[in-house]
């Protein structure tokens, strides 16, 4: 890696597209100063402030949490805020919108198909005890082992990098894609959840995990270290076992009983009242 203790310059080659004026996307180069520690997102902000005010992209948190700034940077889906210019080891940085999505404008992909597929898989805890969920009387019991079954999949920030890297999603619009499927598995493998049968309506059909070729690109590019490819294979196994009636019938976790005789330690404030 080059030593950039002094400010130098870097060229951003950005794919631009304005549907109101352009017939097709085109590339534009911008030369910007490169101070040490600059991220790709900061470079884009410099370009917008001083070179091209019309440049459009999505970003919010600047710390790899919100998942807004997924882009195709030097041939790989990454978060712009999490990508140091120095780690790209090139003075030419190509930035394009995430592949496999329609472009709304410049670096803004249309993620609606992804979130639609996500919503179809019902990515939330489904249980029969609605009253308990509305007015909780305790906590659902879960062991450390049960937590590990889904924990890494819950780190997903829905940035769409996995969808952009998936070769099956690139060619097959019926396939739900790695993010929705991994999130469906995240809830299917949660011991507090009882919604497997509800999600099965979608997962056992054409939009389910069956088209996955296990290329593993989704896991390779995930900026949060989630392994969607593993989730999809585990989901296939779960569905096959379910068809063969070999799967364990999961009972949603019960409410943990509070032991009798407990006293609150002094100095610890009471829980604030519920606001919703």
């Amino acid at each position: 890696m080059a030593d950039h203790t002094v400010t130098s310059e870097v060229v951003f080659r950005i794919r631009r597209f304005d549907p109101t004026t352009d017939a097709d996307p085109h590339w534009e180069d911008y030369r910007v100063p490169w101070p040490p520690g600059m991220t790709v997102l900061e470079g884009l902000k410099q370009i917008k402030e001083s070179l091209s005010p019309t440049l459009a992209w999505r970003s919010s948190c600047r710390m790899g949490v919100c998942g807004s700034c997924g882009m195709f940077i030097n041939g790989r889906p990454r978060l712009a805020c999490n990508t140091q210019v120095s780690e790209l080891e090139s003075s030419l940085i190509t930035v394009a919108p995430l592949p496999n999505f329609n472009i709304i404008r410049d670096l803004v992909p249309d993620l609606i198909p992804m979130f639609k597929a996500h919503a179809e898989t019902q990515p939330y805890i489904i249980r029969d005890d609605t009253n308990e969920q509305q007015q909780p009387t305790g906590e659902y019991w879960q062991s450390a082992h049960q937590l590990e079954q889904y924990l890494q999949f819950s780190y997903c920030i829905k940035c769409g990098c996995c969808m952009a890297a998936c070769p099956t999603y690139a060619t097959d619009p019926v396939y739900a894609g790695p993010m929705p499927l991994a999130q469906a598995h995240r809830y299917n493998s949660d011991s507090r959840d009882g919604g497997f049968a509800a999600r099965q309506q979608v997962l056992s059909g054409e939009r389910g995990p069956w088209r996955c070729h296990f290329a593993g690109e989704c896991s390779r590019v995930c900026p949060k270290g989630v392994d969607p490819a593993r989730a999809i294979q585990l989901m296939k196994r779960q569905l096959v076992f379910d068809y063969l009636k070999l799967g364990k019938q999961k009972c949603p976790a019960s409410i943990a009983k509070v032991p009798d005789g407990l006293k609150r330690r002094e100095g610890i404030p009471e829980t604030p009242p519920r606001t919703i």
Partner: protein, 124 residues
């Protein structure tokens, strides 16, 4: 539910094929080590050995089972490849029908041939 069912059968057929192809390789290519499937001297494809195997109900069943599983596994795989080309709903329906009919016809012909071989060998 349909894809879940078909995928499960696809995997199951693959497992059966793995075993039966192992048996096939043993019979046809490991004859120098495993002689029980080829009682007559000479090659596994020599007439005497073919007749000896064809007389066996075990081989009749394995031939038919291998035929059925291989047809299902192969046609389902081909169907998936073609479906990934995003054909329309009528084309998908037509392909499903075509593969089903082709599979059943080939299975019937293969089963008839296996049965014919069995009866000829028995009467020889």
């Amino acid at each position: 539910m349909r894809d879940q069912r078909l995928w499960t059968w696809h995997i199951g057929a693959g497992a059966v094929i793995l075993v039966l192809l192992g048996l096939h390789m043993t019979v046809m290519h490991l004859d120098a080590i495993v002689r029980i499937f080829n009682p007559a001297p000479g090659e596994p494809v020599d007439w005497a050995n073919v007749v000896a195997r064809s007389k066996s109900v075990f081989f009749l069943v394995t031939y038919v089972l291998l035929l059925g599983t291989a047809l299902f596994h192969g046609f389902y795989g081909l169907r998936n490849i073609l479906f990934e080309l995003n054909p329309g709903a009528p084309a998908k329906k037509a392909m499903n029908g075509l593969f089903l009919v082709a599979g059943l016809v080939l299975f019937a012909i293969g089963t008839w041939a296996a049965w014919a071989g069995f009866t000829v060998a028995r009467s020889a």
